[in-house]
């Protein structure tokens, strides 16, 4: 029997995410999950994940078309369910984004998404980079050092409140790689592709209440 028997992750399916990769990892971790855009699945889950590859505009438009945003906000703000945005799934939680024009985001986190100030280093930022922990949090349980994670991003989130930054990474300049505000989490990298460190982090997210 799984140690998480009453818990379930709903991997929100809005036709933009790489739901395949994330579900492979959840399966390997023996975490109960579903991939869905259905209200009853979202309501019956204890944790939510907004996966992400894709552009900001496409992601926010698809999310609005495929998923009941009011219902999600009720889960996040009233029921306080932990929610994790991965890559562009995190970025659309910002107030707005500047990829292929300016677009409004969900506005859950005060900040905007813009191109990484890479100081002429080639973009996008692709590969394994160190995630430097800046603030204590339960998602870092069992972390004994700063691990490398896999990134693939041209844009990053610039936050108004530095207190929402849990970790940063450097590519020409520092940018937030893990953000957190109450029960809302965002990873700019791909935990599902970051081997052991990614597994640890996802497992810790699932351990949040």
């Amino acid at each position: 029997m799984s140690e998480f028997e009453n818990k379930k992750i709903c991997l929100l399916d809005f036709k933009t995410g790489n739901t395949g990769s994330v579900s492979n990892l959840l399966e390997k971790l023996n975490i109960k999950y579903c991939v869905s855009n259905k209200n009853h699945e979202i309501e019956s889950s204890s944790h939510l994940i907004l996966p992400g590859v894709g552009s900001f505009e496409k992601a926010i438009n698809n999310l609005k078309n495929e998923i009941d945003i009011d219902l999600i906000e009720k889960q996040v703000f009233d029921h306080k369910k932990p929610i994790l945005g991965i890559c562009v799934g995190m970025q659309i939680m910002a107030e707005n984004g500047n990829e292929f024009g300016n677009h409004k985001g969900l506005g859950w986190i005060e900040g905007k998404v813009d191109i990484i100030d890479s100081k002429r280093l080639s973009l996008p930022h692709v590969g394994w980079n160190t995630v430097e922990i800046k603030k204590k949090n339960k998602v870092f349980n069992n972390f004994d050092k700063n691990y490398d994670f896999y990134f693939a991003n041209r844009y990053c989130m610039y936050l108004k409140n530095k207190i929402d930054i849990l970790a940063t990474s450097n590519y020409g300049s520092d940018f937030p790689s893990i953000i957190n505000k109450n029960n809302i989490y965002g990873f700019q990298f791909h935990p599902e592709k970051s081997q052991r460190a990614g597994k640890m982090l996802l497992k810790n997210f699932f351990d949040l209440n």
Binding site: N18, N24, P124
Partner: protein, 250 residues
């Protein structure tokens, strides 16, 4: 700091993994699922999987196979071969691919790169260019079977305003020959483009990787033959490179 990557490439031809020489005479190198399991276990940085049949015939990739492989792959998994529609990319990503490698269609119709980037984000669109230095740097498509009248430098200049995530270049003259990457061309290409550059074709050992990183300033090196036909491994490569001052993930 961002690490330099070592990427094993897996070429797939009708149920078996193969490794060609100058893009001809595919030699079998065993089962694909076993190779992926081993590479995953050894914590490689990334894997590139290329379906030669789909590329040569421009047919649909085998989605069931991709899903199966991705279940064993917890590192970034780039998939190429026969990608010429947005729908194909959507299906690949849904079946566990993290990035797609676009070759022929990107050369013939560069607008496809732009629409793919807009739809899925440029970070998951890898442009792959195969060229022959002997043939005046001409680009070759459909996995080395079809020549074009485009030259790699002119082509890259012509798509400067088009978004894509990474560029993987392969010298057809060098491929599988184990006599070094085409360093001279790589240096020229590095000056021309500002997306991550991955070199492929001809790697004979760890020293070639070092030269590619130090002198050609590539972001990643790809290799097939040395990992399939010798005792060399990605991990040993990284130990060597680290000892020479290259920032790799160990």
């Amino acid at each position: 700091m961002l690490k330099k990557r070592i990427i094993p490439t897996l070429l797939y031809n009708n149920n078996i993994l193969v490794k060609g020489k100058n893009f001809k005479s595919d030699r079998s190198v065993g089962s694909v699922i076993e190779s992926i399991k081993i590479y995953n276990h050894r914590e490689v940085d990334e894997l590139v999987f290329f379906d030669l049949v789909a590329s040569r015939s421009q047919s649909q990739p085998d989605y069931g196979l991709i899903l199966e492989l991705s279940k064993e792959c917890f590192v970034p998994f780039a998939v190429g071969g026969g990608i010429n529609k947005l729908e194909t990319i959507e299906k690949l990503l849904k079946n566990g691919a993290d990035k797609v490698v676009i070759n022929s269609e990107g050369v013939i119709n560069p607008k496809f790169l732009q629409s793919s980037s807009k739809e899925f984000g440029s970070q998951c669109i890898v442009l792959s260019l195969d060229y022959s230095k002997k043939k005046n740097y001409g680009l070759i498509v459909n996995s080395g079977t079809k020549k074009t009248n485009k030259n790699i430098f002119d082509f890259l200049n012509s798509i400067k305003d088009i978004n894509y995530g990474e560029l993987i270049v392969c010298s057809v003259d060098k491929d599988g020959c184990l006599n070094g990457y085409d360093f001279e061309t790589l240096k020229k290409l590095r000056k021309l483009i500002n997306v991550p550059l991955i070199c492929s074709g001809g790697c004979s050992g760890y020293k070639d990787m070092l030269t590619a990183f130090n002198e050609c300033k590539v972001d990643a090196v790809a290799a097939g033959s040395i990992f399939h036909f010798s005792h060399m491994t990605p991990r040993q490569a990284k130990i060597y490179l680290k000892s020479k001052g290259i920032n790799v993930r160990i």
